[in-house]
């Protein structure tokens, strides 16, 4: 196999894995808040979390540049302090995937957590378990199917993330060209047989990943 193809595969998996890990880590607490806390602006927060799904990824990418670019609202302070900018690095691909795929996990995990039987949560409390312990050992496991589905979808979405990544991470061969970017390049330049091959590879690879995730999640329930 072509070395650059190999690089793209590795990069894609790496970006998707890191983004998904971050999504799970940060998304679950948000989903928990949305599901079980009653605070002002809860539904507004929910909507805000969903918005990146509505925007064409390229637009999301553009706004991310405005925020995190070297001269962006946040990015400029980062740059002033550290001389480092996220633009055109693989971290940018992670950021883009993160933003674009996060809504999936949050919405799904919220729905699953809301469906957990109230009386089991109460039972946990009366047994002396703190809210955190109850969240981790009762709500999370009982919402597991939803959380797994959300994680799988986020991972898939991150694997396929393209538009926003393109904007933020650029397409630096051997640096930030994830599989979707590579596919796009191949297809766009009419190298269809290679493009098909790459699509097949991405599909297969994702398929295997999704299949394992499905199987595994089923077994541990």
């Amino acid at each position: 196999m072509d070395e650059s193809v190999f690089f793209s595969i590795r990069l894609s998996l790496q970006v998707a894995a890191v983004a998904t890990a971050l999504i799970v880590l940060t998304g679950l607490p948000v989903a928990y808040m949305l599901a079980r806390k009653d605070f002002r602006g809860r539904e507004v927060l929910d909507v805000i979390c969903t918005i990146p799904l509505v925007l064409p990824p390229t637009v999301t990418g553009y706004y991310l540049i405005i925020l995190f670019g070297r001269n962006g609202f946040i990015g400029k302070y980062l740059y002033a302090l550290t001389g480092w900018s996220i633009m055109f690095t693989w971290y940018a691909a992670v950021l883009a995937s993160y933003v674009v795929a996060l809504p999936l996990l949050i919405k799904i995990a919220r729905a699953a957590m809301e469906s957990v039987d109230r009386s089991l949560v109460n039972a946990s409390y009366t047994l002396g378990h703190s809210e955190l312990s109850t969240a981790l050992r009762v709500i999370l496991p009982l919402a597991k199917r939803g959380i797994v589905a959300g994680t799988v979808l986020s991972f898939a979405r991150a694997m396929g993330e393209f538009g926003a990544t393109l904007m933020l991470a650029g397409n630096l061969p051997g640096k930030t060209d994830t599989m979707p970017l590579a596919i796009y390049s191949l297809a766009g330049s009419g190298e269809w047989s290679q493009a098909h091959g790459m699509v097949l590879l991405l599909t297969l690879l994702s398929g295997i990943f999704l299949y394992i995730a499905n199987r595994y999640s089923r077994r541990i329930i």
Partner: protein, 240 residues
């Protein structure tokens, strides 16, 4: 010291108003279906907030509407067996029981859990999930789970209703020993008069959210204050 309870709660047309206290003895809540017994336990455990009232155990105030004290359920030291059990479907029998002892040191946990399994005659079922055991077995798991952390008071909502007769006798005996060993207040909801007669130090008769009568079980049996109570305790012998 014991447990002092004063509770008022209106919910959807039903209104509960009860006020009683008990020492380190066994109190049976007896009454009509829908009279407010389970609700009383929920209010004591902090799962439902009273409109007004006070819950004090061993001098510690857990709820007081006057001073605004409201300790969350996870910090109240009651062992609660729910009427609908509420076992965790994703934990095995032993997992459920161990989950009941969050503050017990690791090495003790397993020992205690094994004791529980023995006391509640659950040997051989440790690794089953709740949906893989019988109704009576589930009830015993719920009891064991509530007991393992050695709570400072017990709230038992019909914990023996699904047990066969010999087992029920055994469990009653177990509960009596428990009470002398631990010396804590026990509140038991039951519809079984013989159970009430056998176990209760005090019997509190509920009807429509109010306390009709309170006293030693035979006093209640022999001198029901009104026709309602008479009806409730009237026919203890099997009739044909």
């Amino acid at each position: 010291m014991g447990l002092q309870v004063r509770l008022k709660k209106k919910l959807n047309g039903f209104s509960l108003d009860s006020d009683w206290e008990t020492g380190n003895e066994l109190t049976v809540l007896f009454g009509f279906s829908g009279a407010g017994k389970s609700m009383t336990l929920q209010l004591i455990a902090g799962l439902l907030e009273p409109d007004e009232g006070r819950v004090v155990l061993e001098g510690t105030v857990y709820y007081d509407s006057a001073t605004g004290v409201d300790v969350p359920p996870q910090s109240r030291p009651f062992g609660y067996v729910f009427q609908d059990l509420a076992l965790f479907p994703h934990m095995t029998v032993i997992g459920n029981i161990i989950y009941g002892a969050p503050a017990v040191p690791k090495h003790d946990k397993m020992d205690r859990a094994r004791d529980m399994v023995r006391s509640f005659k659950l040997a051989g079922l440790e690794d089953r999930y709740p949906h893989e055991i019988s109704g009576g077995q589930r009830q015993r798991v719920a009891f064991a789970r509530a007991l393992i952390r050695q709570p400072r008071a017990l709230l038992l909502d019909e914990p023996f209703s699904a047990l066969d007769h010999p087992l029920r006798l055994g469990m009653r005996q177990f509960l009596r020993e428990l009470r002398t060993d631990f010396n804590i207040p026990v509140v038991l909801v039951t519809h079984d008069l013989s159970e009430a007669l056998m176990l209760a130090d005090t019997m509190i008769v509920y009807s429509h959210g109010r306390i009709m009568q309170k006293g030693a079980p035979d006093a209640v049996m022999n001198n029901p204050v009104n026709d309602e109570v008479k009806l409730l305790v009237g026919s203890s012998a099997p009739e044909l």
